[in-house]
Structures are given as structure tokens and as C-alpha cells.
């Protein structure tokens, strides 16, 4: 994926995408505001959830061991995974042990993060996404663009075409005469996937929460595809990030109140499934849980940014972000888009190695809306600034000085003497005419493109045109008294 600034420029030119996103995020924002106003003490709930997560993270090792012990006591097999390769290996091994070539999947950010589908495919195992939006994304050879509504960037006609052209090759084909009515499209997905639910012997899920002292895993969803995967197959493997643990069952109160209201703007999501190991005679009789690190301990080691691990993946920060709303999720080049993606990716992967990751903390206006809306009160803007510092630090040893450093040195020289400043102002005023341009939709003259090295600045920003005459020149020309008359 290209780094954010490059991808954003392309996305900004896509008017359809911007319309879809503005509609979707605006709708969710309004619904969310309404159900939050119903609660008396949203702020108190939010602070309680934040505290619970912080205290859990501060003793994460103990809670993980408790979780392992209770899961094992309830008949589950617990695996630990340092990284994506470890986790994918566990899933593939379980499938192979049962001679299974097809698995159904509950929508899960953790399995996307570890690229489970791709890794299983390399080993001849097909993983079928069963969430409607994930199905649209998978059939369209596409990438998710939102945490909660991954196909937010597609409209109904595109979805109709994808179903009509692709479903038949991987299972039950879409019915003839498929229209683009959402109910008709959902009906086609229902038939296509029901066939898979009834014939597939193994499922893979994530978990929204893992309760340490009871070994209870929790999945929240809307469609019932989660329930299908969690109960119909014989074997279930759940890949759970180590930050998903909460100490006790009663801790779920704040999270199950905050999550649905923040994510879909509902008082409760249609379905929540909980299970603790194996329930004899009901659901999968072989249950595995993979506890996944994959960079989480790296984030944990950062005392300030550790709070990002509180994230419950509600996507409220995406829906209020003016940057996300205009460029969409693909631009972030990762499974976690938007403001939370801009901090989670650098934290999980580390900075200073990959230009695309290093660009993410800058993909923000720092307006602060994401931090205000976060149901677990993560200081996202603060972490963005903190990570910008880390990115700069990571590049201090690079050979060539940064353009910013050169520009700052030049500015210091130029501003350091009145004569140089005056000369600079005259030159700017004269030169401005050369690059004067305008942006569609505004009448204010702007500079849209400067020659190198200024081009680095104007690649992502417009510059106001400097006046032809500087203030000091005007002062001299009109005189102290003349100017006031």
C-alpha cells in the first residue's frame, strides 16, 4: 500500500466514495448521539471502563494466567502466539488434524491483522467470511475499509454485480434476476452462506472480551452469522488479542453498555454470544483459544501510549474523524483505519522501519474529536503527537537532514534580521503570482503547487497567496499617519 499522503490524494478525487462515507458516518453519528443522551452518566461509565482496562493492563500477566487456567478447566485448549505466524500455524494445525479444508469465519479484526485467510489459502485451506460486509469484501477481492461496516465504500449496484459475478464460483450462485434492493441482496447472501454453515465442520472467531476468572468469551454481532459459526461446527478456534481480557464477569456491564451504543448507535446489538469452554451436548465439542501478542507487548511497554490497548474496536473515532470521512479506510493501508489505526499500527509494528507506518501519526488534523468520542477515553490526539515525536526520533540518525529541519534553519536565518526578512517578503510577493491558482469550491486564491522543495509542503496542503506588498512596505509607502487616516 502507498503511504497515507499518496493514497489520500487519490481517494479525495473519488466523489462517489466521499458521498458514501459522508452519508454513512453522518447517519451513525446521529444514531449514536441519540442513544447516548438516554443514559444519565455516560462520562462516569466511560471513566469506569477506562479504569478497568488500565488496571487489567497493569497486571496483564496475572490475568492471562487466570484466563488460561479457567479456560483449561472448562475444557478448552489454550495456545499462545508471539506473532501472526504462530497464530496462523495453530489454526492450520487444528484444521489439518481433522482433515478440514474449509472453515467458516466470524468477522474478526485479530484474524485480519494476522492475515489468516491468506496464510490458510497458501496451505490449501479455504476460509469463508460469513459477515455480509466481509463476504462482499472477500468476493470482490477487496479490502475492508471500516472496522464495523467493512463494505461502507461499496454501493448497492456494485454489490449486486459482485454477487452475480462471483458467488457461483465458490458455492451457491446468486438467484437469477438479482436486483440491487438491499433485502434481495441480503437474501442471496443468506442462501449462499446457509449452505456453508450447514456443511462446514470448523469455525474461526475472535472475541470482543475474555473474562479471566470464568473463562468466558464474548462475541457481539448483529446478523447471526456469529451464532452460526460459534454453535454449528464441531471445532471452534478463537484468536484473541491479549488485551481483550477483563478480570470478572461483572466488568462486562460497562463494556456491553458502551460498545453497541458507540459502534452502531443501538442500545444493544442484536446478538451477543458467550461461552466458557465446551458445553456438553451444545455447540462445538472441541474448543481452542489462541492468545495473541503480535506487537501488543510492544504497545504495552510504552507507558503513555499503552492506553491504546483499551480499544474495544467500536469505530466511533472513525465516524467523527474529518480526515477519515473524506478519504475512507483503504488510505490507512491497514486493517485498523481511522484515528485508532493511526496510533495502533505504529504501536504494534514500531516506528522507524516502514514509511507507510511512520506516515500514520500525521494523518490527522489533531482536532480532538476522536478522543472526545472514545467510549474508553483513549487520548488519541495525545498519542498521535507522542508518536510523531517517536517517528522524528527514529529518523534522527538518517543521513540527509529532513526537509523540515532545512526549512526551519532557513526560516531562522531569514527571520533573524530585518533586512533579510524584508528582502524575503519582496521576493515572496513577486513570486506568488507565478504559482497563483485556485481550488474548486473556493474563491480565495491559493498556491496549490510550489517548486521543490516547497512541493513537499503543497503535496498535501494549499498555501494562501502572500500579498504583493508586505505590511512593512505598505507602512513605508503610506507613512504612520497616512495609514491611519
Amino acid at each position: 500500500m502507498p503511504p497515507f499522503p499518496t493514497a489520500a490524494r487519490a481517494a479525495l478525487g473519488d466523489a462517489q466514495l466521499r458521498r458514501n462515507l459522508a452519508h454513512a458516518t453522518g447517519t451513525i453519528r446521529a444514531k449514536r448521539a441519540a442513544v447516548i443522551d438516554e443514559l444519565e452518566d455516560w462520562e462516569g461509565l466511560r471513566q469506569r471502563a477506562a479504569r478497568t482496562k488500565d488496571e487489567t493492563l497493569a497486571h496483564l500477566d496475572e490475568h492471562l494466567l487466570t484466563l488460561e487456567a479457567s479456560l483449561t478447566a472448562r475444557g478448552a485448549t489454550v495456545h499462545w502466539a508471539r506473532d501472526a505466524a504462530d497464530a496462523c500455524r495453530v489454526v492450520a494445525d487444528v484444521a489439518r488434524a481433522h482433515g478440514i479444508r474449509d472453515v467458516v469465519k466470524v468477522k474478526s479484526m485479530a484474524t485480519q491483522e494476522i492475515q489468516l485467510n491468506e496464510t490458510l489459502a497458501e496451505q490449501g485451506i479455504s476460509a469463508w467470511e460469513t459477515d455480509l460486509a466481509e463476504l462482499i469484501v472477500q468476493l470482490g477481492d477487496d479490502l475492508p475499509s471500516h472496522i464495523l461496516v467493512p463494505a461502507i465504500h461499496r454501493n448497492r449496484t456494485e454489490i449486486r454485480d459482485i454477487f452475480r459475478d462471483r458467488m457461483g464460483a465458490v458455492g451457491r450462485a446468486a438467484p437469477d434476476g438479482l436486483t440491487d434492493d438491499p433485502a434481495v441482496l441480503a437474501g442471496a447472501a443468506r442462501l449462499h452462506l446457509r449452505e456453508k454453515f450447514l456443511s462446514t465442520r470448523m469455525a474461526v472467531s475472535g472475541a470482543n472480551f475474555a473474562v479471566a476468572d470464568t473463562g468466558t468469551l464474548v462475541v457481539v454481532e448483529s446478523e447471526g452469522n456469529g451464532r452460526m459459526c460459534l454453535t454449528l461446527p464441531e471445532v471452534l478456534v478463537s484468536v484473541v488479542g491479549i488485551e481483550k481480557v477483563v478480570p470478572t464477569w461483572s466488568d462486562l456491564e460497562s463494556f456491553l453498555t458502551l460498545l453497541p451504543r458507540s459502534s452502531t448507535g443501538e442500545r444493544m446489538n442484536p446478538y451477543t454470544s458467550t461461552w466458557s469452554g465446551v458445553a456438553p451436548g451444545d455447540g462445538p465439542q472441541e474448543v481452542h483459544v489462541v492468545l495473541l501478542d503480535n506487537g501488543r507487548t510492544k504497545a504495552l511497554a510504552d507507558d503513555f501510549a499503552r492506553q491504546a490497548l483499551r480499544c474495544i474496536r467500536c469505530s466511533a473515532c472513525l465516524n467523527v474523524c474529518p480526515v477519515y470521512e473524506r478519504v475512507g479506510g483503504h488510505t490507512y493501508g491497514s486493517v485498523y483505519p481511522g484515528p485508532i489505526g493511526a496510533i495502533l499500527n505504529p504501536l504494534l509494528k514500531g516506528v522507524g522501519q516502514d514509511p507507510a507506518t511512520d506516515a500514520l501519526p500525521y494523518a490527522s488534523t489533531l482536532c480532538g474529536a476522536c478522543g472526545d468520542v472514545c467510549p474508553v477515553a483513549i487520548d488519541i490526539p495525545g498519542i498521535l503527537v507522542h508518536l510523531r515525536g517517536k517517528v522524528v526520533d527514529a529518523h534522527r540518525g538518517d543521513g540527509l537532514p529532513k526537509a523540515e529541519a532545512v526549512a526551519m534553519k532557513a526560516a531562522a536565518w531569514g527571520l533573524g534580521s530585518a533586512a533579510r526578512l524584508g528582502l524575503g517578503e519582496r521576493l515572496l510577493g513577486a513570486a506568488a503570482g507565478l504559482w497563483r491558482g485556485s481550488r474548486a469550491g473556493t474563491t480565495r486564491p491559493v498556491i496549490t503547487r510550489l517548486p521543490w522543495p516547497g512541493s513537499h509542503w503543497t503535496r498535501a496542503r494549499d498555501l494562501p497567496v502572500p500579498p504583493r506588498e508586505s505590511f512593512r512596505a505598505w507602512w513605508r509607502r503610506t507613512g504612520r499617519d497616512g495609514g491611519a487616516s
Partner: protein, 205 residues
């Protein structure tokens, strides 16, 4: 070092950069106690529950215990096949008892009638812990119409009250309205995978 030891060591060095790794503490899982039902909820809470369930485009019928069988029978009268779990304690002529039916068999049945464990007023949620009269998890999933009987005395105020009354070691399904998706241009569609219709029958004395 095994993956387990490495992850735990990484967690500990992240949390206590200076200290040497402390001895592992594997506390045995304590057994949570589940209190019995509190006193019956007031009419206000029951009415809130009924209203909030209806907000989810689920159907809600309130009736007395004496009329229950008749009410449920009329709801499922047109369904092609009705399945009931063991222990439902309700006469429904013609209904099939779930005697470990296969998923394919359940898929061919249109309606299911169960009881619930708890109703949550503020969120309009019914919770099944799949005990007696509530069926296995797949029984309330594959048929297209779920008729769920909730006793008024089972209604609690909010999520916290519900958690306090539920046993976390039992599998649970929390249901708020019919299966729904908003994945296509955010227009809400009922169905997709779970039951497309949810009918809650709220029983009083």
C-alpha cells in the same frame, strides 16, 4: 523458550522494565455465585421492557398465564413446522420436540418456541442461558421465527442486574430484536442469517 513463556516474559518486561520477572501467579478460577431472583419488577420496568423490545421491530404480546397456550398457538398457527425444546411446559399440538435434531432438520422447520432466562428492560434484550425450556443454541437460530416466552418476573432493569443474575459458565445468547444487518448502504435489513422474526410473549399473572 515456548511461545507461552515468551509472551509472558514480554508482558512482564513491558510492565516492569527494571524488575526481574516475578514468579508466575496462576490463581485458580474462583467460582462466582449467582443470586436467585430478586423481588418482582414493577410495572414500569415491565412496560419499558415491552416498549424497548418493540423498538427493535420485534413483535410483543402481553398476556396472562391462563391465555399463554392459546396466544402462542395463534402466533405459530401459519408456520410450516414448529420445534420446541425439552421442558417448555406448554401444550402445543403438532410441535416437534427437539430430540437432538440435526442442523439440516432444524433448517427445515419454520418456527421455534422457547422460554428465556432473563429480560433486560433498558436494552430490550432477552437472554437465553439454554437451560430447561430454552433449547440448545442452534434451536433458536435456524428456524425463521423465534417465539420467546418471558415471565414478567424475569425482567430486570439493566445490563448490570442481568449479569448479576446470570451464570457465566453457561453458554448464553443475548437477543435484541431479529437478526439484522446494515451493511448495504446502511439500510437496515432484517434476517440475513438468524431468525427474521422475533416475537416476545410477556406473561403476567
Amino acid at each position: 523458550m515456548s511461545a507461552r513463556e515468551e509472551v509472558l516474559a514480554a508482558v512482564r518486561s513491558a510492565l516492569h522494565p527494571a524488575a526481574s520477572s516475578p514468579a508466575p501467579v496462576a490463581s485458580p478460577p474462583p467460582v462466582p455465585s449467582v443470586p436467585g431472583p430478586d423481588q418482582a419488577p414493577g410495572e414500569e420496568v415491565v412496560a419499558l421492557f415491552a416498549g424497548r423490545v418493540a423498538d427493535y421491530r420485534a413483535e410483543v404480546t402481553r398476556c396472562g398465564a391462563a391465555e399463554l397456550a392459546e396466544v402462542v398457538s395463534s402466533i405459530v398457527a401459519d408456520a410450516h413446522g414448529v420445534v420446541v425444546p425439552p421442558g417448555l411446559d406448554l401444550e402445543l399440538p403438532g410441535a416437534t420436540l427437539d430430540d437432538d435434531l440435526t442442523a439440516a432438520q432444524l433448517d427445515g422447520i419454520e418456527a421455534v418456541v422457547t422460554r428465556a432466562s432473563i429480560g433486560i428492560a433498558v436494552t430490550g434484550t432477552v437472554v437465553l442461558d439454554h437451560g430447561r425450556g430454552q433449547g440448545r443454541r442452534s434451536v433458536t437460530l435456524l428456524p425463521d421465527l423465534h417465539v420467546c416466552i418471558v415471565d414478567e418476573r424475569q425482567v430486570v432493569s439493566d445490563v448490570g442486574d442481568a449479569l448479576a443474575r446470570l451464570d457465566p459458565r453457561r453458554p448464553q445468547t443475548w437477543v435484541s430484536g431479529p437478526s439484522a444487518t446494515s451493511d448495504i448502504e446502511l439500510s437496515r435489513v432484517e434476517g440475513v442469517h438468524g431468525p427474521r422474526r422475533l416475537h416476545v410473549v410477556l406473561v403476567g399473572d
